[in-house]
Symmetry: C2
Subunit: 232 residues, 2 copies
C-alpha cells in the first residue's frame, strides 16, 4: 500500500542509510546485503563464504535479519564471528531489514576491526529490494529449484542488485531448469548483473564469488587508505 506518509518514512530511512554508509567507509568495512526468497540457501552460503574469507585472515560479522527466531544466528555460531540478530516481529513484523536495524548493529559490533559485514536480509524477493541500508553491494541469491521466471517476475530485485548467485547447482540434474535461459532472462532485466552459478552445499563456484567480494573490499580499503593520507 502506497500512502503519502510513507514518503517521509522512506526519506528518513534513506538518510539513516547514508549515515550508515559513512560509518562503513570511515571504518573500511565492506558491506554486502544478501537477499533471496525463503529457502534459497543464504545462510549456508554465508557460512561457506565466511569460512573461506576467514582462511585468508579476513574478519567478518553478520547482521541476521528475520521476522522471528534466532535459527540462522545459531547456525553461524560455530564460525565464531560476531552476529547481531535483528528480529522485526517486536517492531510490527516488517518484511525486510530496515536501516535503523543496521544502525543498531553498528553500535554493537567492533566495526573498526572488521573487513566484511554481511546483512542476511529477510527471505523475500519483493520488499527488501526497495530499501537502501548503506551497503556497498546488493546481492540476490536465486536457487535453481525456483525456476527460470523469477528475474522477470521480480524485476526490481534483479535491477537493484549488482550480482546474482545461482545456488543449488548440485540439484541441476534433477530439475527442468536451464542455466543459459536463466542467464538470458537475468540479462534482459539487468544487463550489468554479474552471475555466479554456485552450490553452497558442495562449494562449487565459490572461488570466483570470493574474488569478486575481495575486489570490492580492496577497492574500498584502498580508497580508505587514500582518504586517511589526504587527512594526514
Amino acid at each position: 500500500m502506497r500512502i503519502p506518509v510513507l514518503t517521509n518514512l522512506l526519506e528518513e530511512s534513506d538518510a539513516l542509510a547514508a549515515t550508515n554508509r559513512q560509518t562503513f567507509e570511515a571504518a573500511g568495512v565492506f558491506v554486502v546485503n544478501l537477499m533471496s526468497s525463503p529457502g534459497a540457501g543464504k545462510t549456508t552460503l554465508l557460512a561457506k563464504t565466511i569460512d573461506l574469507l576467514q582462511s585468508r585472515g579476513l574478519r567478518c560479522a553478520v547482521l541476521e535479519g528475520d521476522i522471528t527466531s534466532t535459527l540462522d544466528s545459531e547456525r553461524l555460531a560455530p564460525l565464531g564471528v560476531p552476529v547481531v540478530q535483528a528480529n522485526t516481529e517486536p517492531f510490527g513484523g516488517d518484511c525486510h531489514v530496515g536501516s535503523h536495524f543496521v544502525r543498531a548493529a553498528i553500535e554493537q559490533l567492533p566495526i573498526h576491526e572488521l573487513d566484511y559485514l554481511f546483512i542476511e536480509n529477510i527471505g523475500n524477493l519483493v520488499c527488501p529490494a526497495e530499501f537502501y541500508l548503506g551497503e556497498h553491494r546488493k546481492v540476490v541469491v536465486l536457487s535453481l529449484p525456483e525456476g527460470e521466471d523469477k528475474p522477470v517476475k521480480y524485476p526490481l530485485m534483479f535491477r537493484e542488485c549488482q550480482a546474482c548467485l545461482l545456488n543449488k547447482l548440485d540439484l541441476l540434474p534433477y530439475l527442468d531448469v536451464s542455466v543459459p535461459l536463466l542467464r538470458e532472462r537475468i540479462s534482459t532485466v539487468n544487463g550489468d548483473m554479474i552471475v555466479f552459478p554456485v552450490s553452497a552445499k558442495t562449494g562449487i563456484g565459490l572461488g570466483t564469488w570470493i574474488e569478486w567480494l575481495e575486489h570490492g573490499r580492496q577497492e574500498l580499503q584502498a580508497r580508505h587508505v587514500g582518504a586517511r593520507h589526504d587527512v594526514s
Copy 2:
C-alpha cells in the same frame, strides 16, 4: 512499517473481503487462496489441480497475482479456464493480492457458473498472510528444497493457513531435508494444519489434496442449497 493510517486501510480491505465472501457464498463457488515463496511450484500445482477437477466435470477459474508479467497466466492458458491477471506494479507494486483485486476479478468472471476460484497470490511468505480476501481456505505451498525451518521463521503464514502442501517430493532423495521433522515443526506452529506431501511434477499425493478440496466445496454447496431452500 506500521503507521496509524494503515489501520483504516486494513479495515477497508477487510470490509471488502467480507463482501467478496458473501458473493462467493451466494454463488456457491469455493475459493482457495494459494500462497508460497517464489518458485515453490504454485502454478504447476494449480495446473495439475485444475486438470484433475475438470476431469470430474468441475468448473474452475483463476485469479493470477503477480507484481508484473503474465507468465503464469500464459502457463494456465492451455487448460481453457477463465484467468484474470492481477498485476500490482501499476498500483504501487504491492507484495500481495488485495481484496480490491478479488472484487475486480468477480466482476470479470462468470462467477455463478463456477465451482472453484483459485487465487494464486504473489510469491512471498510474509505479506500475503496478513490479508483476508474473502476466501474459504488459505493454503501454503512449501517446497522441500526450502528446508525445514520455514514454519518457525514465517509463523504467521503457517498459523493463518488451514493446509500446507509439501511440494517437490520428487527431489527428496537429493536433499538434506526430513519430512517428519518438517511435519513436527509445522505442528508446533499450527497443530490443526493439514499437511499434504505432494509432487506437482509427478502427480504423487495429489489425490488426497483433491479430496480435501472437494470436501470443502461440497460442504459449501450443501450450505448454499440449504440457504436457497430457506429462502423459497
